[in-house]
Symmetry: C2
Subunit: 578 residues, 2 copies
């Protein structure tokens, strides 16, 4: 028999009892659960350091003064910051499960991230959103969602789903959804595409936020984009770009991640004149970057030490401003009624995170991370996430082709490409390789073929199912047999990266969750990834290129000049297949 539904009166009574405990502890009539004694903390309201006891009960800060607690921790000589917030990330970019992501970022003082589950949604449709809800439930970092706005990224993409405003509408009622994620289709808005604009209208109808993504947009195009209801941007790479958006009321997410780094350019905004409108984000964080540099704490440290930003300002940008923007009004500050989320550091200069508290619980303490349970994922979603490859067994002949095809020219260190004419066969002397994109969601048997120049591979094939934004299988090779073997291997593994030579696996990362994430620990995934990179380099891939990341952008038909989709090589400027 199902439990009876809670009445409104019952709900109020349940919350009342919690509230009364908070009031009893705040008043000093009952002991607090936890007291940070003699704590010097960042007061985001008076923009200064203040020192007193911080009392905690029921996971909330209840008082600032002198308090006794069931547990007391002396904070003399430390600085207590509100827990940090990543204002925009795609969790999938870490290549690990959200739980593993939490294990990696919690020790850096991160207690809240705003994720756009755009990658998994391109694979699994709305089931991907549900999967991420369940995979983040109850984690000791609070994962909040922006709903993917552009699935698929373009009409040329063959992704796992095609979502209009109505398809995502019911998710706005979910308590951890803050709004609509980056509206990448800026021209769709500016040119008043009803299907695109409807997504904004619906998010506003739910009183939710809408994030932007519009590098370099200016003038009336920017006015139209902002007037439509896009409230933030994380794609500014110059101060001027950022100011044009700030003047028009957009919040600026200063991004410093793995793929894009804008802190240097935007540090001049982190002054009292502008900082109120700024927050930090990473957008994408790859495993090695997370392990070597850290997360939001790394950005704060750089801002203070490299760019001379006032430490109080830097910390506010790292927590308070994102909280206010996303209407998460009980976090991002240290005051009664706020979540007891703390990042305790040694000092502003070294900025070593020594202890991290989430809702009053000490999760990280001088190098020791407390274990926490993996979220429960229901059987349907779990099986669905682990069975996303619907593609027949491929054979050598699938990659044999006598026609001439466009040659995509790679540019070292960039993701733009050049138009290098045509080819009709692999030519290792000219570094012309065959490239293919294999539709893998719906068994359509669509295989786009073309050539690529500048990758450097001398033998075998490299394949990956991380292939923005549709995450089909992309494979580059010197011969058709290894290309077929590599693509089949990806499908058999239910996703990942593989480096193949003579039908032998030379390096491999299995990404069995939707073909883009692993269930295993971040350290293991990172080790395998670095080993696979080495294998690719040994097969000749140019050292100036990230063998897998660069490949993963070759199927995104929005970046000039040439790309390849499941239907062949496309000229991005003219949107014509060539």
């Amino acid at each position: 028999m199902a439990a009876p539904t809670e009445s409104y009166a019952g709900k109020i009574q349940r919350k009342l009892l919690k509230k009364q405990r908070v009031i009893e502890a705040a008043s000093g009539r009952q002991k607090a659960d936890l007291v940070l004694k003699n704590a010097t903390y960042v007061c985001v309201f008076s923009n200064q350091l203040r020192t007193c006891d911080i009392a905690v009960a029921n996971g909330l800060i209840v008082g600032l003064g002198e308090y006794d607690g069931a547990r007391e921790i002396d904070m003399t000589g430390k600085i207590v910051c509100p827990g940090f917030i990543d204002a925009h990330i795609h969790l999938e970019s870490s290549l690990v499960s959200p739980r593993e992501f939490a294990r990696a970022t919690l020790p850096h003082g991160t207690t809240t991230v705003i994720t756009d589950p755009h990658e998994i949604t391109n694979v699994m449709g709305t089931d991907g959103i549900d999967y991420m809800f369940q995979a983040t439930e109850g984690l000791p970092i609070d994962v909040r969602f922006m709903l993917p706005s552009c699935v698929p990224a373009t009409p040329m993409d063959e992704s796992g789903a095609n979502l209009d405003y109505r398809a995502i509408d019911s998710f706005y009622d979910y308590p951890r959804v803050q709004g609509l994620a980056e509206m990448m289709n800026a021209y769709g808005i500016i040119h008043n595409d009803a299907e695109v604009v409807s997504k904004i209208v619906a998010s506003q109808a739910h009183h939710k936020k809408i994030d932007g993504h519009a590098p370099g947009l200016v003038g009336k195009d920017l006015d139209a984009y902002v007037a439509a209801g896009v409230y933030s941007d994380h794609e500014c790479s110059t101060k001027e770009d950022a100011l044009e958006k700030l003047y028009r009321g957009q919040f600026i997410m200063v991004r410093e991640g793995t793929a894009a780094r804008n802190l240097e350019a935007l540090a001049p905004l982190l002054t009292p004149q502008y900082a109120e409108r700024c927050m930090f984000c990473t957008d994408d964080k790859h495993p090695s970057d997370l392990l070597e540099k850290g997360h939001i704490d790394y950005i704060v440290k750089q801002a203070i030490n490299v760019y001379g930003v006032d430490p109080i300002v830097a910390v506010k940008v790292a927590c308070h401003h994102a909280a206010r923007y996303f209407l998460l009004n009980n976090r991002g500050a240290i005051a009664p009624g706020y979540l007891a989320d703390f990042a305790v550091i040694d000092n502003f200069k070294d900025f070593n995170v020594e202890m991290v508290f989430k809702k009053g619980e000490l999760y990280y303490d001088h190098g020791e991370l407390k274990d926490f349970a993996a979220p429960q994922i229901e059987e349907y979603l779990d099986q669905r996430a682990h069975d996303t490859f619907h593609v027949r067994h491929l054979v050598e002949d699938d990659f044999r082709d006598q026609r001439q095809r466009g040659v995509i020219g790679m540019v070292p260190g960039e993701i733009v490409t050049t138009d290098n004419g045509y080819a009709d066969h692999v030519d290792l002397e000219k570094d012309i390789l065959k490239i293919a994109v294999i539709e893998r969601h719906k068994n359509t048997n669509h295989i786009g073929l073309g050539y690529i120049q500048g990758y450097g591979l001398k033998s075998g094939a490299v394949a990956t199912s991380i292939s923005h934004d549709s995450h089909n299988i992309i494979v580059v090779g010197t011969n058709s047999r290894d290309m077929a073997f590599a693509a089949n291997r990806i499908a058999e593994n239910h996703g990942g990266i593989v480096v193949v030579e003579n039908e032998q696996v030379r390096g491999e990362v299995v990404l069995e969750i939707a073909g883009i994430m692993s269930d295993r620990p971040l350290l293991d995934v990172n080790r395998e990834l670095e080993a696979a990179k080495d294998a690719a380099f040994r097969l000749g891939v140019s050292r100036g290129i990230d063998p897998f990341m660069t490949l993963s952008f070759m199927a995104l038909p929005v970046i000039p000049s040439l790309r390849i989709t499941t239907r062949g090589v496309i000229d991005v400027i003219t949107q014509q297949y060539i």
Copy 2:
């Protein structure tokens, strides 16, 4: 036949069409409705004056740049500010209808007020809230509501209603409700009174704001009050008081109204260090004060010119900060997507408001106020508001009494009182008068009797139905006959103020809406009010006393030392009738 209910798809389509017009105008493909040409405006995001055209369509700002409009107004030499916001007011204190209030404040640049309909709700219960919703619908100032939290103000009060959390709960769904109004019962919260705390819990359950009212509260009491969920305070009268609250995360409403003036004390908060957490409010504005000084514009002007506040800071406090606090995220700034609410001034020093726009419509232009329709009030509520006196005809004997009663001592210029012992008869030599409070809501026949010293009346009687917070009839007199006549006159008029001598009316203000507001123009009400004051002074009332306002606080049993309720004279400190 009723119109069919709008489908969700229909609603999105309706909003889409409006949005598409905004985008077309922003992009410049269609003409804007209105363009403020060459406008120097306050940019609250970059904290500076900026100059460009401001384009408006569909009542929204759509672009900042160079634009053509169906109507163009040259703004050269002027300063365009976002429309001003009063963060906390009881509209009833103006003694006129909301429409008349709008006529008085719109020329001062006010485009939004947050009202607590606490006065009318004490008379009419939740019907008072509904009445105010209807009486403010469609006005060219946007009236937003905080739901009264303390009706009646105390258990000793006999008001027209007794509202628990459940009684006001359905009002949270009303689109113009922002939260729960000033939690005056601070000790109820601190001492964890379930009935009081439930009101906060319910407001939070609706994701709404909760305003505070806690003069001088400090230490753990303040921690408990804030931890309970009270987000603001408008009762700070010293910088120290305000800082204690600001440190704990409360927003500070700097109040400068008719009854209480805190700008001088709190001006030191209006600096870049603290101003982000501050906004302006008036709390109460009486007719003559509105007419002589103005509204929020007056506070801004004083802040700049008397207290040396930076003009950009002062303007932000007057609009942007209140908008953000109340989550009214499309107002309080000049940027695409924001409401086209503007106060155009000549310069920061003189701060003369010359033009006022509400949603892009020019309502006030150099002394000329555009007329606007009175909101429609349904017959039930209109009749209900005009028939709130349920009290039998009173006679001389009702005020005759041989017992000794407490003597309330008035203090010139203050609303506190002293305990002046006992009396058993009127003694004009000692300035001891009889005072009575007559329950008038429910025909209970309760009449509290007592004496008052220091009022000065030498002849006749003075009565008013503005009597905080329950708005019973309060009457002071030299003799029982005039007291009965005055009280009866109030009831016959359905409310107001009367000055009586020898059963003749010497001065009178009719306040026929719930006994506390008039349907007539503010100028007329003010003239009658000033004439009635003169009449009271002619009958001997001391010149240092506001004859009616001072009286209106005598029945509020929360301010020491003695007060009078419908049950007699009460010692506020001991809460005992004496």
